[in-house]
Amino acid sequence: MSTSPTTPAVHQLPEEHYLNSTYGLRSWLLTTDHKRIALLYLASVTFFFFIGGIFATMIRIHLLTPNGYLVTPETYNKLFTMHGVAMIFFFLIPSIPAVLGNFLVPLMIGAKDLAFPKINLLSWYIYLVGGCFVLYSFATGGLDTGWTFYTPLSSVYSNSAVTPAVIGIFINGFSSILTGLNFVVTIHTMRAPGMTWFRLPLFVWAQYATSIIFILGTPVIAITLLLVGLERMFHLGFFNPALGGDPILFQHLFWFYSHPAVYIMILPAMGVISEIIPTFTRKPIFGYTFIAASSIAIAVIGFFVWAHHMFLTGESTYAALAFSLLSYLVAIPSAVKVFNWTSTLYRGSISYDTPLLYSLGFIGLFLIGGLTGLFLACLGLDIHIHDTYFVVAHFHYIMVGGAVMGYVGGLHFWWPKITGKLYPEFLARMAAVILFVGFNLTFFPQFILGYLGMPRRYHNYPPEFQVLNVMSTAGASILALGYLLPMLYLTWSMRYGKVAGPNPWPATGLEWRTPSPPPTENFDVTPVVDWEAYDFKNRPDLGLTQPSGPALSPAHGDD
């Protein structure tokens, strides 16, 4: 089960690369190298994932019994709130863009760095400052508003540390905006000669779509949460009806960002999957333009579906009808991606390497997450399942089953490029399977709980819901193991892993045409691109034999 199918030759690490070109704390904290900044982000988002994970563990243990003895109601409410805030704003949103995107976008387009390297470093510092405010809120009183900060609970009634938390998220928003800006400018202006828009790896398309949402959406959430802070501190009446405000206005503003934010989390993961599948089937992706265009379609339509979170707030029936219809519209580009990925497997040369296992896991889980989204967009059905565990299960399938599977799969895929080392393949495959099983056992029962009527954010529940909750907690412990394993063996492999060589899979992207780990300036010579994306046919440099079986028709065999 070798992971290095091309040559049995023993590879050597390059003598000088971005990790060893300079030494010392200063060289990291003041670096403007996008690859080092990616690693700074990797460390910080992993930290927040850990914090959010601890909260999740406590939630699941508490829910083992109907009357939950582990923590008090106040503490329980803080746990699910802080779990959401840490995971969404400080792990999921930055994870793929700021870690993998930062590392890969310049490499994939053949650039030396991002367009604004110093701003890139500034983004990380802004993220840290925002993170510190939020940690301060967690440590001094915690936060019990739900990650959704619904008013007037958050702006008037909550006794927890809301103000530092909203300031933290406000600040953190600028980190997203600057990263998005940096990516857009970089992708527009710094592509290598021959790297046309339709030769771009689909991961870059996905980052581009995500950046649009970063730039257009994030200012809205930043200002909205600032208004919550102002109402709390100075009693200005924006959302509090007693001061003439409107609590529903908050929900419109909040979801105007926070629904597109779901696509911030899932689009980059879709980009990762679109890289992995061609590599491990050794064929061009099926329907390149459709996958690229669907990323943009999702980003654009995603801005016009926000009020589907509000069907039962008393919003007008006409608004509900419009937003339901638009929500179904956004399902179509997602479906297009799934069909194209599946078709790419047809007549491929499929290897069973870990990144592909994650990708297939992603498709399965995203499929369930996406299909159950149709249930929630359905007006008549939403009356019953809105604000129940059905919603909790649905968005975990998208965000954990989708976004996190994509992120972890991507980390494995590019780990050899990032560190120059291979991870232990057998352990990694096991972890992928454990994650998939644990995830389904954790979250599938929650769909049933939801339809039975268990509302979300309950610190205790009627006894008839216990069996399903115990199943969910059992699944969560398997899931935790599935996350711990990669953390351990990936760390281990940095020192003890086999040397990977420049292109271990092999893959077609530009990032694989430079040593692993890459030199600080990425490429010794600016590459010139004269091949299409995922073209294994015209790449003698990959050392692969051409397809066996029936002869190809000359015109790309588009049967």
Binding site: A242, L312, T313, I332, L374, A377, C378, D387, L544
Partner: protein
């Protein structure tokens, strides 16, 4: 489509069968796609396993016919889901005529409920089988949500707004209701029981009331106590418009526009009278924002509603067309 899957809760209202049928339809469509795609993946996964180390896949770039197919088919299925869901939702959002109106007030962390005859309940709701029931809901603090899984209905209870929802109970029994919009510390215990009774049992239960004033009577008293009656004189001779026939009717405002006199309008006109001035009148009325509890506003509204059937004076009427049925 009436099949009851094991994880469907009790069906105890008119909406339960229609929501469950919708659920069954969506489950079937989803199962079809989930099984088809999973089967394709598993089949390809084994069938096209890499046979030799250096093998390359067959370069297929795409197929226009397939792309069109999997855009058009999901689009039509989506439309079907949307349409069917919309029918159920529109029905839910539009209460029929002649409902049994019950007032519900949510506050951290309890539900105060008042029957039409004034009988009050806390965290309990009694309703008769077969009668269209409308809950008129208000909140005293944060957003709550009244959710009865066995009825398949829920609606947010929003401070500063009235939300209503209706249902027709179909099966006697006791069912849980929950607060399903997170509302702070004791959100999870802010629930109770709905008791669905035969109409005769319900009537007996109602008459066993310990006898507080009905909202209408309480509202009439308030109307005098708060001196509303000194300006809003029924024959239209007062400094403020007569309220006869106003409820449900159309009112012409000073700026020339018109507005329907529903619960929300009446509530606003009590709390912030200057927001909408009736044509021909001066903005003299004091604001009652912060002066009245949600209970009192509901009572006043109930009283004003009862004036719907009073004769409308020729002059000094606050109403353009009446909402009288």
């Amino acid at each position: 489509m009436q099949a009851q899957l094991p994880f469907y809760p009790d069906q105890a209202s008119n909406f339960a069968p229609s929501v469950d049928a919708l659920m069954t339809f969506l489950i079937l469509v989803s199962l079809f796609f989930a099984v088809a795609i999973t089967a394709a993946i598993v089949f390809f996964f084994f069938k096209y396993r890499r046979k030799s180390e250096n093998e390359v896949g067959y370069p297929i770039h795409g197929d226009m016919r397939l792309e069109s197919l999997w855009i058009i088919v999901p689009a039509f299925l989506s439309l079907a889901m949307f349409g069917w869901g919309a029918v159920v939702y529109v029905d839910f959002r539009h209460a029929p005529q002649d409902t049994l109106d019950i007032y519900v007030i949510g506050k951290q962390w309890m539900w105060k409920i008042q029957q039409p005859n004034g009988r009050r309940e806390i965290n309990e709701l009694h309703v008769p089988i077969g009668r269209d029931v409308k809950l008129v809901m208000a909140s005293e603090d944060v957003i709550h949500d009244f959710y009865v899984p066995a009825f398949r209905v829920k609606m947010d209870v929003v401070p500063g707004h009235y939300n209503t929802m209706w249902f027709r109970p179909t099966k006697a029994g006791t069912y849980r209701f929950f607060c399903s919009q997170y509302c702070g510390t004791n959100h999870a215990v802010m629930g109770g029981w709905v008791t669905v009774m035969d109409p005769s049992d319900y009537a007996a239960w109602l008459s066993g009331s310990s006898g507080t004033d009905s909202p209408l009577v309480a509202g009439e008293k308030l109307f005098t106590e708060r001196a509303c009656v000194t300006c809003h004189i029924g024959n239209g001779s007062g400094r403020a418009p007569s309220l006869n026939g106003v409820y449900g009717g159309t009112v012409r405002l000073a700026d020339g526009s018109t507005v329907t006199a529903d619960d929300a309008y009446i509530r606003e006109s009590i709390l912030v009278p200057s927001a909408k001035i009736v044509a021909g009148y001066q903005p003299l009325m004091p604001a009652f924002q912060g002066q009245l509890t949600e209970d009192q506003i509901l009572s006043l509204t109930a009283y004003i509603k009862s004036l719907q059937s009073q004769p409308i004076p020729a002059t000094g009427a606050g109403v353009l067309t009446t909402g009288k049925k």
